[in-house]
Symmetry: C2
Subunit: 389 residues, 2 copies
């Protein structure tokens, strides 16, 4: 087959960063007892009440084609939510329901880029970002957020990279670093976006998981609403990763074009999962707090377990379900540290390098196992690092 | 926003062909009693057993991220199905599960086209085809299948259009025409594909609905397996339109690239809907026959109702859930006929022109209402046409 250049180069050639994860999964399948701190998936299942709501909707007849933009009730609920969180008036015309946050990211890049156009993203980064940019023929260009600056991007670094770019992707609260961008950082990003006329794609899927400071959407900053797409999802906030319900929010004229894309690329999202999402949003903030609470609790456990040692520095994990551990004092790379930890202590963590060279010398810990084994694993990692340092 | 040229030109500028449909829906919302023969959606809901299987899977824990390629059991079931239908050895490595047939079509075009590449499609055509080609920056080029040739494409027409093209989309059984491509037609298509080194994207979502002849997949023809993507779906065969479960089947090396695309554009399909699809496939051919039976029955009712009149000629409706009525003897266009029929008799049908100029002077009837009102509507349409002719 004469395949397109676009599809054969989506991965960009190098490792996709999942080698350690695959090695750990292989060891598990061979019978090894491995503690997995690798992936961003809750250790709980989707709440039964949400599943019952889905079933009721399905039995009630929500099994035919749903309207491609999403069902009005859910679009309205998302609009109300975004209006409350950003202070920006939002109606259902600003909201399209997508098959998960990843599909919303794709739609946003398709809206922003033609083939050959450049999109900026922040390094370290979530694994799919450059591939999503390449999936529309775009050219991903990384801007480093230095570990020693708390993994926050700066005006200078962004401005130096932005000439000729069309779009900029940001993610706060951040995966993999746990950084939460404060107002100063967001104002610097906004200044660059306005100066270079960039479309900002703001991935805010962790917006309910902030443990220090507050979540601010860049959409709420002056001059940004008209140039920002916000990506949201039920996955992390409501432990509905497998349901594949997300949304894209943006200016209404832009969304009318995105709707044409959705019609021609996926033709809508299952009505019964949309009804489940609507029910879940209706459970309110108390439920979201309940979903996030284990990560906040485990973050505190880790902070306590790492006190009084010097081999590991815990980067400011202000939000999301991850910790980024600076292990440079051990003299190892993140890749080597993770591999050695897996082989010698049977604990699987993600090398920082999997998320870009800006996270070299770090490992990412997903706080997605129960408290007791989590705490034990952190202590074990600390002891392991101390032996190396 | 500086939106991409790609997204702002997806619709190609003209009407999207749904004006009549929207007008009918508006009249319904205003209280008019309209008989709708417009859209390709069953008049039954998804079978309760399938919904119960989905619920059982969800309660059983299939609520986290499913593997991006699809769950192995479903991929194996689709592979077995395709192997049986095409005679081509097929394994799960040839199968990726997608969020509906539309998403599989998109993935196939992304695999075949870079920006500016040309893809052929057959006119008349299903509404999303040119937009899907444009969604990857491709250039859609229509090849006419003449009404007077039973809406079958010919070697000559395809060959004349194929120079420089990268891909060719076909759809048999066909929406909107109901044509089922026989071996001669498929061999002509294959000859053109091989001569011009085209990737063939074969939309076979109506493969269980054949009322005359048999369904032959072009994938089974000599030299075609290595250049064919087959698009399939649970929507039409199992009345699961709203569940959004489909698949793309192709050569395994190509599929490894398509998997990278899926990872970066939608990150998998809900595990519980995949389990529901697996259960539904397990109901076997008897169930598929049951789902298709109403269309076969209504087709016979229409043939009988149209006997002995001359204003309407029924094109060979060999498969799928549609009839294409040739109303050229009335002297009206399909657009005018449909509009007049809606206003004067309160019956909504799709103008042939909505599916391309090759269907001008025709209207498409979706056989998607119960038998008695369906038969009455056909008789009413015949009387209406006789008055005009």
């Amino acid at each position: 087959m004469r395949l397109s250049n676009t599809i054969t180069t989506i991965t960009g050639g190098g490792s996709d960063g999942w080698d350690l994860f695959i090695k750990a999964r292989k060891m598990i399948s061979e019978g090894h007892d491995i503690t997995e701190l690798t992936i961003g998936e809750h250790d709980i299942k989707t709440d039964t009440r949400i599943l019952e709501a889905m079933h009721t909707a399905a039995l009630g007849g929500a099994t035919g084609y749903a309207m491609v933009p999403g069902i009005d009730d859910l679009r309205n609920a998302v609009a109300t939510r975004l209006a409350a969180r950003t202070g920006v008036p939002t109606t259902l015309d600003n909201v399209l329901i997508t098959a998960g946050g990843q599909a919303a990211l794709f739609a946003a890049f398709r809206a922003a880029l033609d083939e050959g156009d450049t999109a900026l993203y922040i390094n370290p980064y979530y694994a799919t970002y450059p591939g999503t940019i390449r999936s529309v023929g775009g050219v991903p260009k990384a801007v480093t957020a230095e570990a020693d600056n708390g993994f926050l991007p700066t005006f200078e670094a962004l401005d130096a990279a932005a000439a000729g770019a069309k779009a900029l992707l940001i993610n706060s609260p951040n995966n993999p670093t746990g950084a939460v961008y404060g107002r100063d950082t967001l104002e610097a990003i906004a200044a660059v976006a306005i100066k270079h006329d960039l479309i900002v794609i703001s991935d805010e899927v962790y917006d309910t998981q902030v443990w220090e400071g507050e979540h601010i959407s860049i959409r709420s900053l002056e001059g940004m609403n008209e140039r920002t797409f916000v990506v949201g999802s039920m996955s992390k906030s409501h432990a509905m990763t497998g349901s594949r319900v997300g949304w894209l929010v943006g200016p209404d004229e832009a969304m009318s074009h995105v709707l044409n894309l959705l019609t021609n690329t996926n033709y809508g999202v299952a009505g019964f999962t949309q009804r489940a999402a609507l029910f879940a949003l209706g459970l309110g903030e108390a439920f979201e707090d309940e979903i996030g609470a284990p990560f906040q609790r485990r973050r505190a456990l880790a902070q306590k377990a790492l006190e009084g040692q010097n081999a590991i520095r815990l980067s400011q994990p202000s939000g999301a379900m991850y910790l980024m551990l600076d292990i440079r004092a051990t003299g190892l790379s993140g890749d080597d540290f993770a591999d050695k930890l897996l082989m010698e202590r049977h604990i699987a963590v993600m090398p920082g390098e999997s998320f870009g060279d800006a996270a070299a010398g770090h490992v990412r810990i997903a706080m997605t196992i129960p408290d007791a084994p989590f705490e034990a694993a952190i202590k074990e990692i600390a002891a392991f690092a101390a032996n190396l340092a």
